[in-house]
């Protein structure tokens, strides 16, 4: 889960209450944030992926205000800043193929306040969290924060020839050319491919030609560095997806809003195309909340006053409608897009109590699948034969697969380790491993298991099929083909079928000592004597008989007689 370490004092200042660790734990239990660690000055919280806003002191503080009652309802954050910005972004067509989306907002400190070190640190840390999460590592969206008093609008977003781009990177003091920057800078090595195409790179330049940043890599120092003392900032995001860009900007507002900063939109003009006033990014968005939906989610018992109080506690604004409410949600709550999303907020603010749990009143008939009962019958038979019952993994090691030879089973493209690199297609792969791990126990050793395998099946939905096998191995002096075959005969007799054996070449067995059994012409079992060149390296000092009944093949043949 996403997590962040927050400044405890700043959080409490926003919440309007001093909160000790245990009290905070209790308050957050009903939220989608959880305290993972806490000391006097800092707390580490993790959140569910839909509530990234709670990873900032601002977002969590606004939530706590609602729960504690120190402030309720939608914060009044929207300012009429449009008048001061006749122009915002102008977007050149050249960016369309590489990174077409851009959006932004202006934030302005309240009277007598300015950007302090704490808010700046919070904003920078939250910016990186958003890059990694909804920004999909800056591909879908990346953010920049700029001081408005050191830039001139309009800001132009374009793809330019690198040869004409000169700027002072945020972490440097000397001007460099874009080619050198992309060649040498570590950030460019990571994010550069998203911001360049051939010999061109994306730029944000102000009206005087100063480079604000090379999206999505790095800001320039001249006009791209927000500092303590700044009072008005531009928050900007570029990306490949309009919605991700808007969500990133909306979330980025919350640290500022919680400190009383005002928010205004940035117009976006696409040269020769449409113009947007940018308000959709910063304005609250409305979501319908029908009364009947609340009943569906949480049952009866939600009076209008309860719903409106819970909405206010959730820092939302509910406007009564004939069928329910129209709910205004702020831009830092992109998780609220449909009625059920808002309904969940009401439910969670109300609280979910175990003692209110009830069971559905309808009656349904429970049952196991007939195939499950069929498999259990075989598992019981194996136990009845005195075979120990291991429980082995479907994923097997590279060495276990290589040992048996033959056609390789399905290979994991991205295995965690060589130990779990293949999907077994027969149980023998696993059961030989079991024998190898048990050589210290002496003999006889007899084991059997009913478990799944996955076999290739070209042309099917996944190109493979899950099948269930009943596998057994018998390791003792005198063990061999006859032992294994006799047990197969016995197992088949338990479901009233008789198989016909035919010689078969089965990898891992001694040539001439392996067979396939058919029922009504269908192959249902394989058996044989394990080859000595396999047993010797495993340290198994006795012969081993092996058999596997394909229960998935057998089931359709016996179903009419074993189900009622």
């Amino acid at each position: 889960m996403p997590r962040s370490t927050l400044d405890a004092d700043r959080l409490c200042a926003i919440a309007g209450r001093t909160l000790a660790g245990a009290a905070l734990d209790d308050l957050l239990f009903g939220s989608k944030a959880e305290v993972e660690a806490h000391d006097a000055s800092a707390l580490t919280v993790s959140v569910t992926p839909d509530r990234l806003d709670l990873l900032s002191e601002g977002g969590l503080g606004l939530y706590l205000q609602g729960v504690l009652g120190t402030a309720r309802g939608l914060p009044d954050y929207r300012a009429k800043l449009e008048d001061t910005l006749a122009a915002g972004f102008t977007v050149d067509r050249s960016v369309d193929a590489l990174r077409p989306s851009i959006g932004g907002a202006v934030v302005r400190a309240p009277a007598g306040r300015e950007l302090d070190a704490g808010l700046l640190a919070e904003a920078v840390r939250f910016q990186e969290i958003l890059h990694a999460s909804i920004g999909r590592n800056r591909r879908a969206a990346s953010l920049g924060i700029y001081p408005i008093d050191r830039l001139e609008f309009p800001v132009r977003y374009a793809l330019e020839a690198m040869s004409v781009v000169q700027f002072v990177p945020l972490d440097a003091s000397d001007e460099v050319g874009a080619p050198e920057f992309f060649r040498d800078h570590p950030m460019a090595h990571v994010y550069g491919p998203m911001g360049r195409a051939g010999d061109s790179c994306l730029t944000l330049r102000d009206a005087t030609g100063v480079i604000l940043s090379l999206p999505p890599v790095l800001n320039g120092r001249t006009a791209g560095e927000a500092r303590v003392g700044d009072r008005e900032l531009l928050i900007e995001a570029t990306g490949t997806r309009e919605r991700s860009v808007a969500e990133a900007v909306g979330l980025m507002l919350v640290p500022f809003v919680a400190q009383g900063w005002e928010v205004g939109p940035i117009p976006v003009e696409r040269v020769g195309r449409e113009r947007s006033d940018g308000a959709a990014i910063v304005d609250p968005h409305s979501v319908d909340l029908p009364s009947r939906l609340l009943r569906t989610l949480g049952g009866e018992g939600f009076s209008a006053s309860v719903v409106e109080r819970r909405l206010a506690e959730a820092r939302l604004a509910g406007h009564p409608q004939p069928h329910g409410w129209l709910v205004d949600a702020p831009p830092w709550r992109p998780d609220l897009t449909t009625p059920v999303d808002v309904g969940e907020d009401v439910l969670l603010a109300e609280g979910v109590r175990p003692e209110e749990g009830i069971l559905p009143s309808s009656r349904t008939r429970g049952r196991l699948r007939p195939e499950t009962l069929f498999r259990r019958r075989f598992a019981s038979s194996l136990l009845g034969l005195g075979l120990a019952a291991p429980h082995t993994t479907l994923l097997v090691s590279e060495s276990a697969v290589a040992r048996l030879g033959g056609e390789l089973p399905l290979h994991i493209r991205n295995p965690v380790s060589a130990e779990f690199a293949y999907v077994r297609d027969r149980l023998l792969v696993s059961h030989l491993e079991v024998l190898a791990r048990n050589t210290r126990h002496g003999y006889p050793q007899r084991l059997g298991e009913v478990a799944p395998v996955v076999v290739r099946a070209p042309g099917t939905e996944t190109g493979a099929r899950t099948r269930y096998h009943a596998g057994l191995v018998l390791a003792h002096e005198g063990a061999g083909f006859a032992d294994a075959a006799s047990l197969v005969d016995y197992l088949l007799r338990t479901v009233d079928v008789t198989a016909v054996r035919e010689p078969a070449e089965i990898p891992g067995t001694i040539a001439g000592r392996a067979a396939r059994a058919r029922v009504a012409g269908e192959p249902v079992a394989e058996m044989g004597e394990v080859a000595p060149d396999i047993l010797a390296p495993l340290g198994v000092p006795v012969p081993v008989g092996w058999a596997e009944v394909d229960l998935s093949a057998l089931w359709p043949l016996v179903r009419p007689r074993t189900t009622h």
Binding site: T48, R367, R369, A388, L410, E433, E461, T462
Partner: protein, 509 residues
């Protein structure tokens, strides 16, 4: 294992008795008193003491005779003590000589009084310790010292010991023992009786042949009639047998399945290798969701997937892209950023959640009310440790019918927790792309504290709409391995994949 005698089965040694053992056991069984001492028993059977002792020990090792030992301590006079009783204690005789000599006694005079050097020295030590005799020579009583008028305590105890009395002052006995006047003698008496088994054991007369194994030949001929079988020492070690017993984890899973069946759930099953469509897309998980990345899901190579039915694919694509379902006028929601890619939908992956089984079940349009469960394997790119495994079981469950709400989900969690013996539950909000609201149920384990066990919620319209389900559906996916670890007392999840034959056959690992 060699047989003890005859042809008795291995490990069940018959109880063989020698002649003296038989005689002694017979005598013990015929006792009129509860037990008898060894000497008396020896006299009864007219056997030498050594043979009696050895045979009784053998009967005892065969659990046929019981031994009680009585330990007794007696105090006796030594020759020196007997002399002291006859002549008086040295200190008494020294005092008498002193009195006779008018209260002063030289060493020579003391010798002449019949006290040898050892007695003299003992008498002088005692009298000085008691403050009667002054320091220096000649010996004289301390001025003002009053000598005893009656017998000294030592004299009393010596007399009692001489008379065989047992209730004597142990502290004075200690002092007399240190002076060599008395000695303690410890004696133990062994008393024997027949044990319950010894009384029941059939005793045959000397020379009679006991039967060993009951053979087919004996059965056929009837020669066993009128004869006795050699009894076995049933406590003797037997060969170590191995066998099979149900795998504890698998058995636990089956019990959990039975609980769900009892609650009216029908079982469902799905393929372990799924397409991303069924594993994720149909569950409204965005195609670029971090949990779908190569870092979380296990993909396979060497096989190609196929798209699902075209109409279902179109409906799922529509909700992902925020478009209205075919035939509908408005979208169920804004969908996810980015276009829906059918090539992603076709990719085969090892199933990472059993919710895929629920999706397939719902796609078959079950008739409400319905309840479904599936306990099966899933796979994720987890680093292996005591709490995480790349391969894990999940218990998936859904309930669909009119009128369901979140309280019913809580009710199911409470019922399941109760069924496995965990009675305290609390619920907190959670998040899953396919449910809204989403919650996480925690149960309190008496030893381990609060545990996250029940994640679930109400399936989103974006999941139900494309599948054509028009009733609310509650869904959850329980980490049953974690519950099994608690129930089975395992501390490491890897132990649930048990393949140690020692453990599996009921022996030691």
């Amino acid at each position: 294992m060699p047989e003890a005698s005859g042809d008795a089965p291995v490990g069940a040694a018959p109880v063989a008795l020698s002649g003296p053992e038989r005689s002694l056991l017979q005598a013990l069984r015929e006792l009129e008193t509860p037990s008898i001492d060894e000497e008396s028993l020896g006299r009864k059977v007219e056997l030498p003491a050594d043979q009696v002792r050895g045979s009784l020990q053998r009967l005892r090792s065969k659990h046929l005779a019981l031994l009680e030992e009585e330990h007794r301590t007696t105090v006796r006079l030594t020759p020196k003590g007997e002399s002291a009783v006859a002549k008086g204690l040295p200190e008494r005789r020294f005092l008498a000589a002193l009195e006779r000599r008018g209260g002063t006694l030289s060493p020579d005079e003391a010798a002449e009084a019949g006290l040898d050097e050892e007695e003299r020295s003992a008498a002088i030590g005692v009298l000085r310790r008691r403050g009667w005799l002054a320091e220096g020579v000649p010996f004289r009583l301390k001025p003002g010292a009053s000598t005893p008028e009656g017998p000294l305590p030592e004299e009393t105890v010596l007399r009692q010991v001489g008379l065989g009395e047992t209730d004597v002052d142990p502290a004075i006995v200690d002092a007399l023992e240190r002076r060599g006047l008395v000695r303690r003698e410890h004696r133990s008496t062994k008393r024997w009786s027949a044990s319950e088994e010894g009384r029941r054991l059939p005793l045959v007369s000397e020379g009679e042949e006991l039967l060993g194994s009951l053979t087919p030949e004996l059965l056929r001929t009837g020669d066993w009639r009128g004869r006795s079988f050699r009894p076995y020492d049933v406590r003797a070690a037997v060969p170590y047998a191995t066998g099979a017993r149900p795998n504890a984890y698998v058995a636990w899973l089956e019990e959990f399945e039975e609980i769900l069946v009892g609650l009216g759930f029908e079982q469902a099953e799905g393929p372990l290798l799924e397409t991303e469509f069924w594993n994720n897309d149909v569950l409204f998980m965005p195609q670029d969701h971090p949990a779908r990345s190569i870092h979380d899901a296990l993909s396979v190579e060497g096989t190609e997937g196929q798209p699902p039915a075209a109409d279902l694919l179109a409906r799922v694509a529509a909700v992902h892209e925020g478009r209205a379902l075919p035939g509908a006028t408005s979208a169920l929601g804004p969908g996810w950023p980015g276009p829906y890619d059918v090539r992603v939908a076709e990719r085969p992956v090892l199933r990472s959640q059993t919710t895929a089984v629920s999706a397939r079940y719902l796609a078959a349009r079950p008739t409400p009310p319905f309840r479904m469960f599936s306990i099966d394997r899933n796979f994720r790119r987890e680093a292996l440790d005591a709490r995480h495994h790349i391969e894990f079981h999940q218990c998936e469950g859904i309930i669909g019918e009119e009128g369901l709400d979140l309280r019913h989900l809580v009710g199911v969690f409470t019922t399941l927790a109760d069924a496995i013996g965990l009675h305290e539950l609390k619920i907190r909000p959670s998040y899953f792309p396919f449910t809204e609201p989403s919650v996480e149920g925690y149960v309190r384990h008496p030893r381990l504290g609060w545990m996250e066990v029940f994640p679930g919620g109400i399936l989103r319209p974006e999941v139900l709409g494309p599948l054509g389900v028009d009733v609310p559906v509650l869904a959850w996916g329980i980490g049953v391995m974690r519950l099994a670890m608690v129930a089975l007392g395992r501390n490491d999840i890897r132990d649930l994949f048990q393949d140690d034959l020692g453990v599996l056959t009921g022996g030691t690992p």
